[in-house]
Amino acid sequence: MEQAALTLKSLLTNNKENLLTKWFHLVLETYPKETARHFGNQKSQFGNPVGHNIFEGLNGIYDELSQDMNEDRMFKALDRILRITAVQDISPSQAVSFLFLLKRVVREGLAEELRKGKVLQELLDYEDKIDQSILLAFNIYLECRETIYKMRLHEVKTRCDILERINQYNN
């Protein structure tokens, strides 16, 4: 019975608050200090859209990885974060780096329990799922960037159309 209680799944569920908070703060550390402090303040979802969406996104990702992953829900949770990081002043690798941090959080946060229990296989499976989500994140990131480029192109085309019409009128 005691062994059963020590599955990785139950460890992740029981320690969710602690691990999620650690993960959230590690992610925020990628921002300048003053900004990390502000983004970490969860008082207002409208006054702090980046912090709020990152937290809710991480929360969703954490749940999906802890359970049987639902791809649609996972996509939405990842999109919530990547749509933001895709337009911020960071490199593509930094934009998806928050998922790598989860490995560190789980390994360090559950170090003792992981050593005691027989959950190596489960941990490897879990980390495989994180890797899968990183691949998905890469797709989402690129899709966001492509959307930006398409929007730029659309604006340029619209402006050309308008200028063409103005030239016609002016002749």
Partner: protein, 537 residues
């Protein structure tokens, strides 16, 4: 063969931002964050300093040799001229109340987008050259030397502020950071540093009367296209007049609405309304621009472009002026026009000929906002409306920064919306009215090359729209600003793809029951009228 990074190099990700202080962290001009430089020919048209070909990416910005002297002398002159600037330079206690109120900071996390730090970019130079403490203690007193790197930083961040004034709402001292940006831009202009998305529209406006550079005959043609569309949709033919002397009212919309969707639909709604009530008004091909990008250049340029409104009103002999759905136009009109180009002793206090209402609030400017005018018509039951024609729209309202914060236009658009559509929901309190979040593209930043920056700046607005979209199914974001109508559609496309954007008077035009109209089957967008369910059948 190109040198490929090794696996461990690829995996070495630096999670930490630079450790240097803000004064020592130089600007990196990455694509997507800055705007193209002003074209030399536009600068020449306007008589602006240092016309040349250059790019913010270049190492050498081809500044005049004595650029530093010019900037410092310019600052000295403005400190003497504008008492507000002197106060803003001296009074900030860095309490931080403004820090997390700027949409660019909230979206980017870049500390130099905090209004306090944006102002500090200028203030640090002010301290160094204009205060005793700064002269003696230098960096310890928050002072720093004006160098080319500092100038580049000014350019980067003063053209990353939309002058929306949200931060000033929260400042306990009333420091208006938008005015600091305005002065910053004025100083940059003295040495030829400006952006093309501002300077070329200003040159067009100066030469041809509107930002788009449409000549008089072109303008008449484009208005006729709108009246043709109205005739197709309603069966009613409008007869517009241009430059007509002796008309009672001069109507000045922003030129963006003449050409770009969805602004055109909103302008159609306004023209239909004015026709329906039989207002004796004229349009002008000379004062053919309500907007004023001069505001984003310098006080002198703003005055120069604005002057045509009164000049034309005087020439045509109208009694008062009616203005269209525009944003910054109303800041210029409400806060500066009277003192810049007044007094308007040749105009009368605006009185609605339909309702008899005296617009006492416009006593000094003699210029009425179209939503004030329309709200008054509705309140006095002078127009017939069928709000069910807008039933497929679940509407929210974005307070455009300038009408909301610079003229307190908060209730009239809402009153209209509640009368022309059946589904209206407000966004959360902290994101509307005087606390409204900017679209991210105001003050000349609505270009395409800075799209990434626009998405950052627009995130807080989009985040609130997303909330009402998910909670109430909102699918239409209405506004009263031409720049909003250009900038919000891509913002929605990126953050909340199922939400469209419209002007308030587009919905008025849809709902307006006109005398002699045919059965309305299409909206002003030529889309089937009615609910989504009706259209599915």
């Amino acid at each position: 063969m190109a040198k490929l990074p090794k696996t461990d190099e690829l995996l070495r990700i630096n999670f930490q931002p630079p450790k240097t202080g803000w004064q020592e962290t130089p600007v990196d001009f990455k694509p997507g964050t800055w705007l193209y430089a002003g074209k030399a020919e536009s600068l020449e048209t306007l008589g602006l300093a240092n016309p040349r070909q250059w790019s913010p990416e270049d190492e050498d910005w081809k500044l005049p040799e004595n650029w530093k002297e010019i900037i410092l002398e310019g600052l000295r002159e403005r400190l003497g001229k504008f008492r507000s600037l002197q106060l803003f330079m001296d009074t900030c206690v860095r309490c931080g109340a403004c820090a997390d109120k700027c949409h660019f900071y909230l979206g980017s996390g870049d500390p130099k987008n905090m209004p306090v730090l944006r102002a500090e970019l200028l203030r640090s130079v002010y301290r160094k050259d204009f205060t005793t403490a700064g002269k003696i203690f230098g960096k310890f007193a928050g002072a720093r030397e004006l160098t080319p790197a500092v100038l580049k930083e000014w350019f980067y961040y003063f053209f990353q502020c939309t002058e929306c004034r949200r931060c000033s709402v929260f400042c306990p001292y009333g420091i208006d950071t938008a005015e600091i940006t305005m002065i910053g831009r004025e100083l940059l202009n003295l040495v030829g540093l400006n952006i093309d998305w501002v300077v070329t529209p200003v040159a067009n406006c100066y030469k041809k009367g509107n930002h788009l550079g449409i000549q008089p005959h072109g303008l008449v043609d484009s208005f006729e296209m709108l009246t043709d569309d109205i005739a197709d949709i309603t069966g009613v033919q409008l007869d517009l007049s241009f430059n007509r002397k002796g008309a009672e009212v001069l109507f000045i919309p922003p030129s963006g609405d003449v050409f770009a969707d969805p602004g055109t639909h909103s302008l159609m709604g306004q023209l239909m309304l004015l026709h329906e009530i039989g207002l004796d008004y004229t349009l002008s091909t000379y004062a053919s621009e309500g907007g004023n990008f001069g505001l984003f250049t310098s006080h002198e340029m703003m005055k120069r472009l604005n002057s045509k409104m009164y000049a034309e009103a005087k020439r045509l002999g109208v009694k008062w002026i009616l203005g269209g759905e525009c944003g910054h136009m109303w800041r210029v009109i409400n806060q500066y026009m009277d003192t810049m180009n007044g007094p308007t002793d040749f105009l009368e206090l605006p009185v609605s000929p339909i309702t008899g209402t005296r617009f006492e609030n416009t006593k000094s400017t003699k210029m009425v906002h179209i939503t004030e005018f329309t709200a008054d018509l509705i309140q006095n039951n002078k127009i017939k409306l069928d709000p069910s024609r807008n039933d497929k729209h679940i509407v929210t309202y974005h307070d455009s920064c300038n009408p909301a914060r610079a003229m307190g236009l908060l209730e009239e658009p809402r009153y209209i919306l509640k009368n022309v559509c059946n589904n209206f929901y407000e966004m959360p309190d902290e994101t509307i009215r005087e606390k409204t979040f900017c679209c991210g593209g105001g003050a000349g930043l609505g270009a395409d090359e800075n799209m990434e920056m626009r998405m950052r700046g627009g995130l807080p607005r989009a985040n609130a729209v997303k909330y009402v979209h998910e909670k109430h199914g909102v699918n239409m974001l209405s506004c009263v600003c031409a720049i909003d109508r250009a900038v919000l559609p891509p913002l929605m496309h990126y953050w909340v793809p199922d939400v469209n954007v419209c002007g308030v008077h587009e919905l008025v035009g849809n709902a307006l029951v006109m005398k002699g109209e045919k059965k309305r089957e299409e909206s002003l967008r030529f889309e089937p009228i009615g609910t989504e369910e009706d259209n599915d059948v």
